[in-house]
């Protein structure tokens, strides 16, 4: 069963075509990596999947709901309810503690539950740092708070944009271990990255070039990828 279906997605900014006729399915519980060089359309795909932007044409179905025709506020509600976002720069609110940064996502979603937020922090190994402000945490710890925040509302899909791009090797391992654990528990994960070693953790990697899917690789190693259509084709 697919949790996400993109059909004929294009995005045009003035004269520039950022995405062209993208078809892509993501299965429930799958770990998908989206790779590509700068300007290949990775961020545009991420924006559309994350309900942060709307495609110029084509349809997006997330968890059975068509998104293309929704208003900005309706997309906000979908983002709040179904998507957990993890960022390269963590983007924690500087004047809230780690616990409050998790709880603020609960607040917009439904009800604030301190115990549950603490449990989420515990899950990423940060229960003892709950009362710390972001500036009192290391980069790796901040990213783990960001992950706890992404998980707190039980999203249908976890969308991670360069999740280890700002971390050292040790913290990268910690974060990838957490993502593996989430994946084992059944979470659907989409990671946007330019790093092959991060993409290698995925079950499938989509490589974008010039706004189109250049190839899709099973097993996550894009260097061994066949051309699109040779093996699995778009929309596999």
């Amino acid at each position: 069963m697919n949790i996400l279906e993109l059909r004929g997605i294009s995005k045009i900014y003035g004269q520039l075509s950022a995405l062209s006729e993208i078809d892509l399915d993501v299965a429930q519980g799958e770990w998908l990596a989206i790779m590509g060089p700068s300007g290949s359309g990775k961020t545009t795909v991420m924006n559309i999947i994350g309900c942060l932007d709307k495609p110029s044409c084509g349809s997006v179905v997330l968890d059975g709901q068509e998104l293309s025709a929704l208003s900005a506020d309706e997309l906000t509600a979908i983002r709040r309810d179904k998507i957990g976002l993890i960022f390269q720069q963590f983007h924690l609110i500087s004047y809230l503690t780690a616990l409050e940064n998790v709880m603020v996502a609960q607040y917009y979603h439904s009800l604030v539950d301190e115990k549950e937020a603490l449990a989420a922090l515990d899950r990423v190994g940060l229960a003892d740092r709950a009362k710390h402000l972001p500036r009192q945490l290391s980069g790796g710890e901040q990213q783990r708070v960001c992950i706890a925040r992404a998980l707190i509302n039980y999203p249908s899909i976890i969308l991670a944009d360069e999740p280890t791009g700002n971390l050292d090797e040790a913290n990268e391992r910690v974060v990838m271990d957490i993502l593996h654990q989430l994946h084992r528990e059944g979470s659907t994960i989409v990671v946007v990255t330019h790093a092959p070693e991060v993409a290698a953790h995925a079950e499938r990697t989509v490589v974008l070039e010039y706004g189109k899917i250049a190839r899709i690789v099973l097993g996550g190693d894009p260097s061994k990828a066949p051309e699109v259509g040779e093996a699995c084709g778009a929309g596999a």
Partner: protein
């Protein structure tokens, strides 16, 4: 920790605490505006009512005083500054017969020592209850006649009607209390001319028999006929008696117009200053909110990504602006209350104009109006920022600089 911990109000307060100097600076600006607006309005209204009361009830068109005592007479009338000066009393009959004079009533000004009623000197004013038209309009109740040993007291003299007041060791019964006039009358004690002469003898202020002492008065209040200009009546009196009696004249119309001009200047100054401060507060806050919005685009983008609607972010900014606006307004009101009310006597003394205190309810109404006007400056100044929230793309803004 509950739901309330993340409402726009709570997050707004957290953000204001995070920038204490900016928050305090903006609130201080609003407080200054509120202080000037509220304090200035209260002072202005006190003075304006004082002037209205004076204009409405000061029945005299002319005051005849000894030459060189024009200023002292004004000071005694307007500010209650005690002074003593003399005119020959036989002038009164000559004035009464002069063309254009309808009524003439004498006064005798006597500065007291410290009296039992008061912490400072009071002005004792002897007057002729029969011919008086200066004191009576302000007397509460129906005072049929002032009997010997009775006094009428100004509104700020402590003893009440029926109580006794001792002046120079002589006791007087308080027969009536005047309404607040806003003038020196409020701190004056009025008695008949006969009583004031007797008091001078008993109090050791004058020697000799009463027939010698009562040959003097201090001033004569005149009411002129509508067919004559007060200035012409005054000029004729001066022509006839100035050399013999060493006279000077106070035209009450001039006195009032001088006060009116002073009040108008004061009022204009207050309004111009308040308008300038309001404009300044609005401009500074608009710029600061606009700059802050740019600084905080990432934070707002993140909140949008987490699920905050544009309306919610608008409420967040409005809350911050309202805390600054209404917080500053409350500070300004408190500052005005702490400075102006306890020191009002000193302030009005230094201004030297007649004044009437406003009722508590009126002060409250002015305070509320100033609070709303000043407080609203915050939300109004933030409107541009609130409307601009929708103008940035969420995710590109969040990733700017990465």
């Amino acid at each position: 920790m509950t739901e309330r911990a993340f409402t726009p109000g709570v997050l707004a307060r957290a953000n204001l605490r995070r920038r204490p100097f900016r928050s305090a600076g903006l609130a201080g600006l609003v407080a200054l505006f509120t202080f000037v607006l509220f304090g200035g309005t209260i002072l202005n209204e006190n003075l304006s009512r004082g002037l209205d009361s004076l204009a409405g009830r000061l029945g005299a068109d002319l005051l005849i005083v000894p030459y060189g005592y024009e200023k002292e007479t004004q000071a005694a009338l307007l500010r209650g500054e005690p002074s003593t000066f003399y005119l020959k009393a036989d002038l009164l009959d000559k004035v009464r017969g002069a063309p254009g004079v309808v009524q003439a009533s004498p006064q005798f000004f006597l500065a007291s020592l410290n009296a039992s009623c008061c912490t400072a000197q009071v002005q004792i004013i002897g007057y002729d209850p029969e011919s008086d038209f200066l004191i009576r309009p302000w007397t509460r109740g129906n005072l049929a006649a002032l009997e010997k040993g009775q006094v009428v007291v100004g509104s700020r003299i402590i003893p009440a009607v029926g109580e006794e007041l001792t002046l120079f060791g002589v006791g007087f019964a308080v027969a009536a209390k005047m309404e607040a006039t806003g003038m020196g009358f409020d701190t004056s004690v009025f008695m008949s001319l006969d009583d004031v002469y007797e008091l001078m003898v008993k109090g050791g202020l004058a020697e000799g028999d009463l027939s010698q002492i009562n040959a003097f008065i201090s001033s004569i209040a005149l009411k002129t006929s509508p067919d004559f200009a007060p200035r012409d009546v005054g000029n004729e009196l001066m022509r006839r008696h100035a050399l013999d009696y060493n006279l000077d004249l106070v035209l009450t119309k001039n006195l009032l117009s001088d006060i009116s001009v002073s009040l108008k200047n004061f009022s204009s100054f207050i309004w111009v200053l308040a308008a300038f401060l309001w404009l300044l507060a609005m401009i500074v806050m608009s710029v600061v909110f606009s700059v802050a919005l740019n600084e905080r685009q990432r934070e707002f983008s993140l909140l949008r990504i987490l699920g905050a609607t544009r309306g919610w972010l608008g409420r967040l900014i409005l809350h911050e602006a309202s805390y600054i606006g209404f917080g500053g307004a409350a500070l300004g009101l408190a500052g005005a209350a702490v400075i102006i009310f306890p020191f009002s006597t000193l302030i009005f003394q230094s201004i030297g104009l007649p004044h009437l205190r406003l009722s508590g309810l009126t002060v409250l109404a002015y305070g509320l109006a100033a609070f709303i006007l000043a407080g609203a400056a915050g939300p109004l100044a933030s409107l541009y920022s609130v409307l601009s929230i929708t103008r940035f793309d969420i995710y590109p803004t969040l990733r700017e600089g990465e």
